[in-house]
């Protein structure tokens, strides 16, 4: 029985981890800056990373739908299986919805998103300051939700590795030999 994620799934997982961390760091830092060329650059980079996250999340969701995850270890209780399935689904949804909320917020605040400074994304919303402020709140709230879920997700993975001593973390780690099937 295959007990590891595919190399593609592993690569996409860790690439998204890296991009989400970068995006969060940029986002948290940039909002406190006063207007400067650096601020404009960071805002654009944040948006570019966000668009990239969205595209990779679409790719990842498609990959997951066509390449099922390896089964959980036999002794995993039913509630944990449910919790894992629900939290994974939510993580996918957030990776797709958060970039979209940022894009719509940008449009509503009257600043178009131009991917890499080259590809203009259409403004789906007309400029509307009140709506923009609402979308800002949505963007922030969704990100807090994502942060909480990521914490639970990582804690669960670590618990599997150090407490349960099973292969649940290892099957998503890059650069290690596949564990021998039990």
């Amino acid at each position: 029985m295959v007990r590891r994620y595919t190399a593609t799934a592993i690569a996409l997982h860790w690439l998204l981890v890296l991009l989400v961390v970068c995006s969060a760091a940029l986002g948290l830092y940039m909002v406190g800056l006063t207007l400067s060329p650096a601020k404009l650059k960071l805002y654009s980079w944040h948006k570019w990373v966000g668009v990239t996250i969205f595209m990779l999340a679409v790719l990842r969701a498609a990959w997951r739908l066509t390449h099922p995850a390896p089964p959980l270890p036999d002794p995993t209780p039913h509630w944990q299986r449910k919790a894992a399935a629900v939290s994974h689904l939510l993580l996918y949804l957030l990776l797709l919805v958060i970039p979209v909320s940022g894009w719509l917020m940008s449009s509503a605040l009257g600043v178009q998103t131009v991917y890499l400074g080259l590809v203009p994304l259409p403004d789906l919303l007309a400029k509307d300051k009140a709506l923009g402020e609402l979308l800002k709140l949505v963007h922030v709230t969704l990100n807090c939700t994502l942060a909480a879920l990521v914490a639970v997700h990582a804690a669960a993975a670590l618990r599997h590795h150090f407490v349960n001593r099973d292969d649940v973390l290892q099957r998503m780690l890059p650069f290690i030999r596949p564990p021998t099937p039990r």
Binding site: L35, S36, P37, L40, K41, S44, L116, G117
Partner: protein, 187 residues
């Protein structure tokens, strides 16, 4: 300005009008606009100036005597982003407390063909004067004359955005200016 009598306006314009002077048109603010498109990080940012005045004398048959003078109150800028509105009035940008207006004074009007013309003249912003030329079209609408055109200026030639803002990787040097001026008979 638009309430001044033609004679005073002629003095204002600093031109020696011929005996048969062309009627001086003032502009109808409700049907006139001066907008711009600047770019930051490749993102077009459209804005406008809310207050400006103009005196226009235009006769297709007597282009040599056609004139335009336009003054824009730079404090009336609307970039679409409140934070940017405050920033561009500061010293590094327009320095509106020392240089409250941008001023254009025409030197020549040429016919390009059909309803298309080109006005050349001197544009002064922030104490710096540069020659510009702007193609425009003319159309008559309900007794008013509508002048519509656009040109591109390089902001750094006028010192708009100095110091750290002179970096054109972030804010592009070229800024497109569009104008639509509805001229009505001045009082």
């Amino acid at each position: 300005m638009k309430n001044l009598r033609p004679v005073s306006i002629a003095v204002c314009l600093g031109m020696s009008l011929p005996v048969q002077a062309q009627p001086i048109l003032a502009i109808d603010p409700a049907r006139s606009e001066v907008t711009f498109v600047a770019r930051q990080m490749g993102v077009p940012a459209q804005g406008r100036f809310g207050r400006f005045t103009a005196q226009l004398a235009f006769d297709p048959a007597r282009l040599a005597e056609s004139r335009a003078q336009i003054e824009i109150e730079l404090d009336s800028i609307d970039t679409g982003v409140a934070e940017a509105d405050t920033e561009v009035k500061r010293r590094a940008w327009f320095d509106t407390s020392r240089f409250p207006t941008a001023k254009f004074v025409s030197s020549a009007v040429n016919h390009l063909g059909a309803d298309r013309y080109e006005v050349a003249g001197k544009l002064t912003i922030k104490g710096r004067t540069r020659d510009i030329a702007a193609p425009f079209t003319v159309r008559r609408v309900n007794g008013a004359t509508v002048f519509e055109g656009a040109f591109t200026l390089k902001r750094l030639e006028y010192g708009i955005g100095e110091g750290m803002w002179a970096d054109t990787e972030t804010v592009a040097d070229e800024v497109q200016i569009r104008f639509e001026l509805t001229g009505i008979a001045g009082k």
